[in-house]
């Protein structure tokens, strides 16, 4: 009798995590494509202000990696939905797994993806700068954003990563809901768009405004960190709990 292999959850999670970094590598391909696309969009500037006097017309373009971050956040959202789909989650069951290890390794993967996304987003500002500097601008106005100060970079990468992670966890929950019932694939966008329309019509501050106020106007980094991490944990936890109602795999 062959002796049984004893396994510990954490070892399996680590193994699955290593595998996912390799097996899900195409998501990083899409990330690069999206960021390059976002950079191209960004070349027009995220904002434009023009003024003219009698002798001088000035036109100021504002550049930032806002587009890149927005794209990368959406990328995180959709990627998280994708990895909850059967095409991905069934892959796990070729290998050693149970549901918890599958979830945990997914979360680790999404955290890694978020960090890589955050890092490249922040760094893309500098690429944008070089391009604009070389090809676009007559005159280049200094601003606080020019400083590649280590602290600013660190805060930037962390907070961009956190934003992406937030969207990842939301996507993971949404994806799990859709796995639970395909109805949600129709229901959730309908509720989302419908809610926005309703808010717009009634002039009320909708859920988006509340979220905006909760996350985006938070000016203390530690508090922001706490808010995002707690929210993500809750969302991931919700997805775990929900999937307990599912078969391991169909």
């Amino acid at each position: 009798m062959m002796s049984l292999t004893k396994v510990r959850l954490w070892d399996v999670v680590k193994q699955q995590y290593r595998y996912k970094l390799k097996g899900y590598i195409q998501v990083f391909m899409s990330m690069v494509v999206l960021q390059v696309l976002a950079l191209i969009f960004s070349l027009n500037g995220v904002g434009n202000a023009g003024a003219s006097g009698g002798l001088l017309n000035v036109n100021t373009s504002y550049f930032s990696a806002d587009f890149v971050l927005a794209f990368t956040m959406l990328w995180g959202f959709i990627t998280a939905i994708l990895i909850t789909t059967k095409a991905y989650s069934n892959d796990d069951f070729i290998f050693v797994t149970n549901r918890l290890s599958s979830h945990l390794s997914n979360v680790l993967f999404l955290v890694t993806a978020s960090i890589l996304g955050g890092l490249t987003t922040i760094l893309s500002t500098f690429l944008l700068k070089v391009i604009v500097f070389l090809f676009k601008s007559d005159v280049y106005l200094a601003s606080s954003a020019d400083l590649a100060a280590p602290m600013t970079l660190l805060v930037g990468v962390s907070s961009a990563s956190l934003y992406i992670l937030l969207l990842c966890s939301l996507g993971y929950l949404v994806g799990t809901l859709i796995q639970w019932s395909k109805l949600f694939a129709v229901l959730l966008p309908a509720v989302f768009v419908g809610g926005l329309l309703l808010n717009a019509l009634s002039g009320e501050a909708g859920i988006l405004a509340v979220l905006y106020a909760f996350f985006m106007t938070e000016s203390s980094f530690p508090l922001f960190f706490l808010k995002v991490v707690c929210t993500s944990v809750v969302l991931f936890w919700g997805a775990f709990g929900l999937s307990n109602r599912l078969e391991v795999r169909p």
Binding site: I25, Q26, F28, M29, S30, V32, V33, V36, A49, A51, G53, G54, L55, L56, N57, V58, T60, S61, Y62, F63, S64, A65, V68, L69, A70, F71, L74, I78, T120, T121, I122, L123, S124, T125, F126, L127, L128, K129, V130, V132, K136, S137, D138, V139, Y140, A142, S144, D146, A148, T152, V155, G156, S159, A160, L162, L196, M216, S219, S220, F224
Partner: protein, 235 residues
């Protein structure tokens, strides 16, 4: 409006993800190429990251062209300077420190018409001082206080007007270029929220300095103009 933007973003991002997956599953990936797909992705990603890091280095190492060296100025001061300049000019005591350009013409005629080739000078303040005698000389000066853009002195970028005497006509015209494009980088919103910058609106201020043409003309020269407003010292 916001919804449409969000939907468009969704379509773009979704489309790219779909495309990448499609490419992965196409036969291309399976049959061609000397490298494994994972290796190719790593190379693309690594290349991208390398470019980003090189950009970061370029940004920190290379001197930045443009307005970094510009002086900061106080807008209030500039405004009051403008008023002073105007008032002084009307009193015939224009401050020479604001002189930007000077022209001297010999003119023997009795009549001079002042005209402008562009609309810019329709309401231009033109201050005329009559000299004590008829010396047949016209001295013209262009005076201007500092211009500012977001609190920086951009006076050096102001293109000065041109002034020509063509027979009995003094013609004001623009220099070819008087438009300037500035670029300003802001941090991504994920940083702005911690630095106290505005999140999604950009506040830029632009103020052109107060400028005047100051003409010293012979005592009895008759001036006429079409559309331009002349003010006389002591008038």
């Amino acid at each position: 409006m916001g919804i449409v933007v969000v939907l468009i973003l969704f379509v773009i991002v979704g489309g790219v993800l779909w495309l990448v997956t499609k490419l992965l599953n196409s036969n291309n990936v399976h049959k061609r190429g000397r490298y494994a797909y994972t290796r190719r992705v790593r190379m693309v990603f690594g290349g991208y990251l390398a470019i980003l890091i090189v950009s970061l280095l370029l940004n920190t190492l290379l001197p930045v062209k443009g307005l970094n060296q510009l002086e900061k100025v106080d807008r209030k001061e500039l405004t009051s300077e403008g008023i002073v300049l105007y008032d002084d000019a009307l009193a015939g005591q224009v401050d020479e420190k604001f002189l930007r350009e000077k022209w001297n013409f010999d003119y023997k005629g009795e009549k001079l018409s002042i005209a402008s080739s562009t609309a810019t000078y329709q309401s231009a303040p033109i201050v005329v001082e009559r000299k004590e005698q008829n010396d047949g000389k016209i001295e013209a000066g262009f005076y201007m206080t500092k211009s500012s853009m977001n609190g920086l002195d951009i006076t050096q970028y102001v293109q000065l007007p041109e002034l020509d005497l063509i027979r009995d006509k003094l013609l004001l015209s623009n220099s070819p270029i008087n438009e300037i494009r500035f670029s300003q980088f802001t941090n991504v919103f994920a940083v702005r929220q911690f630095t106290g910058d505005r999140l999604f609106s950009h506040n830029s201020t632009f103020e052109e300095g107060q400028w005047i043409f100051y003409l010293k003309v012979p005592k009895d020269l008759k001036l006429e103009t079409s559309g331009l407003s002349l003010q006389y010292v002591g008038g």
